[in-house]
């Protein structure tokens, strides 16, 4: 029997599986390549446009370029571009694992109230001048946002440790937090001065423009810590998707896995939000796109979620600069406008397999 006459049924399942795995690795590699192009484009666009070759030269051989280009790329645009990558990656990874442990396709930092809590914390500083950490008043807004986000996360974590609490309870609790913090935020907005109100609204729209290398390193550092910890639990997290009974019968400690994951997810969701404000959609849609592309085997799903989230936010950053030349629109608004049509197209072409 020649190779030409071999049909799919003649190929062993093992070989087909290895081919499937190879295709997924190739897909993830392609996503990484797309991300690199997007980041380079992000750095090329701005009030002064540069070509991609200039950007590549500035990144790889910074000593050989003029000072103005060096400052624009390294001190202004690269922090923003890298912030998009790290924040997008963090939010998407957080959403991916929230959806995994809660068995809910709508779970994300946004829908579980973490982003709303952060928004309220930021508003406390912007409207009422309340600094939760008075010793660091110059970082009042991000620290307030981080504290409230972690408070909401730890509250969810604490409730989930109680006996008798199931995933449905946690999801409902998240929804309750969303409504609660949005109501408190609305109250602050009602009482705010015009200037404070504008600042709060701008913060809730999300922005990458205040990115600094310190923030990039912190966000990237959180990602670098959490991702390997999730990778270590890849098999158990995937098994969880077969149902609690089946996963437990395979030896997965369901309760401990959920708690560990929830704690890491809290960190992943709180820190980016503290730095860039409320960016919805990435944490919800990034994992869904990854799932449609590579399935839910965490060995592929985890890196794909990270890269999809980073790519989505990076592309959004590019688009936010292109709509009105010379201006950068709020990133949180653009993520939905850019992401929704793309997400719809994926849903309608993959509806049999999607969650």
């Amino acid at each position: 029997m020649t190779m030409a006459s071999e049909t799919l049924s003649d190929i062993s399942g093992g070989n087909r599986y290895r081919a499937l795995a190879a295709r997924r690795i190739l897909l993830i590699t392609g996503l990484i390549a797309a991300l690199v192009v997007s980041v380079a484009t992000d750095m090329a666009l701005g009030p002064a446009s540069y070509s991609l070759s200039e950007v590549v030269t500035a990144v790889l051989w910074p000593a050989g370029i003029d000072v103005q280009l060096q400052v624009v790329i390294w001190d202004i645009r690269m922090p923003i571009a890298m912030m998009a990558v790290t924040v997008g990656a963090c939010l998407s990874l957080a959403g991916a694992q929230m959806q995994t442990i809660l068995a809910n396709p709508l779970a994300s930092p946004f829908t579980l109230g973490i982003s709303a809590a952060a928004g309220f914390g930021a508003a406390l500083g912007l409207v009422a001048g309340v600094a939760i950490f008075p010793a660091a008043v110059q970082y009042m807004v991000p620290l307030n946002a981080f504290f409230m986000a972690m408070l909401a996360s730890l509250f969810i974590y604490g409730v989930s440790t109680m006996r008798g609490v199931n995933v449905e309870t946690i999801v409902l609790l998240g929804i309750a937090l969303v409504f609660t913090f949005n109501a408190l935020l609305a109250l602050l907005e009602y009482l705010a001065s015009e200037q404070a109100l504008a600042a709060v609204i701008f913060w809730t729209m999300g922005s990458l423009t205040k990115a600094t290398w310190a923030k990039v390193w912190i966000t990237g550092g959180v990602l670098a810590i959490c991702a390997p910890l999730f990778a270590r639990n890849a098999w158990a997290l995937t098994a969880l998707r077969l149902g609690d009974d089946k996963a437990a019968s395979m030896g997965v400690n369901i309760r401990r896995l959920r708690l560990e994951t929830l704690l890491l997810v809290s960190l992943l969701a709180a820190i980016p939000v503290a730095f860039v404000g409320t960016i919805g959609f990435i944490g919800l849609v990034g994992p869904h796109i990854a799932r449609m592309l590579v399935g839910e085997d965490q060995r592929f799903y985890l890196p794909a979620s990270v890269i999809c989230g980073a790519l989505m936010l990076s592309v959004t950053s590019v688009v936010s600069k292109m709509i009105i030349p010379g201006a950068i629109l709020p990133i949180g608004v653009i993520t939905a406008l850019v992401g929704v049509p793309f997400f719809f197209s994926l849903i309608f072409t993959n509806r049999r397999r999607s969650w």
Partner: protein, 252 residues
């Protein structure tokens, strides 16, 4: 070779005792033991207790060479799942039992053999969400068998299968139990399957064990009347196989 001994086994959910006093030393390797009883009698609870998924009274003792590896495999009743995984990946999950990210050729060969034994190779790269209830049940069985357990607990593994598939699967399980020296507990609603394929039976009703022993001597007309509230006859066919004929419920 693994033997399973249950001594006064009970189970509770919180403070509520839902199962008590299940004792059996009939669970030997190579044999099938049916667990029968009405709905909500405690059959699934017994399986979860034996698999150490819930706590409770009594002792579950697993003895034999496989005991050291703790290979008690529980196949739950519920097969509904909406994970975006192929059949092959879901069986690989069960075969890997944790471990690192690498997949060995031996693991892939085991999966191929298991799918082939259940005649579901053509489903290998279909997604779980695309399968019918019966197909999902076969995949669940594959996930259990690929682990090569010493003790296999199957909670109604054939409830969604058509008649020919039921016979095929039960015949395969009986064959594998003998060949692999597995101890198998299998929850069944069809008493004729219990009579035909199982060696022993444990009868659970209202959270307690009401009878246990060789299947032909335990399943009697009196037991069926007491446990299931049905009037039935036990007859023998020309091949000597006993079977149950239900005439009606006791209230009728």
């Amino acid at each position: 070779m693994v033997n399973l001994t249950l001594s006064g086994v009970g189970a509770r959910y919180g403070k509520r005792v839902v199962l008590s006093d299940v004792t059996s030393n009939l669970l030997v390797n190579g044999e099938l033991t049916a667990v029968i009883g009405p709905n909500a009698a405690g059959k699934s609870t017994l399986f979860k207790r034996v698999a150490d998924l819930i706590g409770g009274a009594g002792v579950v003792e697993v003895s034999g060479a496989e005991a050291a590896s703790g290979r008690i495999c529980y196949m739950p009743q519920d097969t509904g799942v909406n994970a975006v995984l192929t059949v092959y990946e879901s069986v690989l999950l069960a075969a890997k039992q944790g471990g690192d990210w690498r997949v060995s050729d031996q693991q892939l060969a085991d999966i191929d053999n298991t799918l082939d034994a259940l005649r579901i190779t053509e489903l290998a790269f279909r997604h779980l969400s695309e399968l019918s209830g019966g197909q999902r049940q076969l995949v669940s069985i594959a996930q259990a068998l690929v682990r090569k357990p010493g003790v296999l607990l199957m909670d109604e593994p054939t409830s969604a299968l058509d008649l020919s598939r039921q016979i095929e699967v039960l015949t395969l399980i009986r064959h594998l139990a003998a060949r692999m020296d597995m101890t198998v507990l299998i929850a069944l609603h069809d008493l004729n399957h219990a009579l035909r394929y199982c060696d022993n039976v444990i009868v659970i009703a209202e959270g307690t064990m009401v009878a246990s022993g060789p299947v032909a001597s335990v399943i009697t007309e009196e037991l069926l009347r007491d446990v299931y509230q049905v009037n039935a006859r036990i007859e023998c066919c020309s091949h000597g196989q006993a079977f149950v004929i239900v005439d009606g419920t006791v209230t009728n």
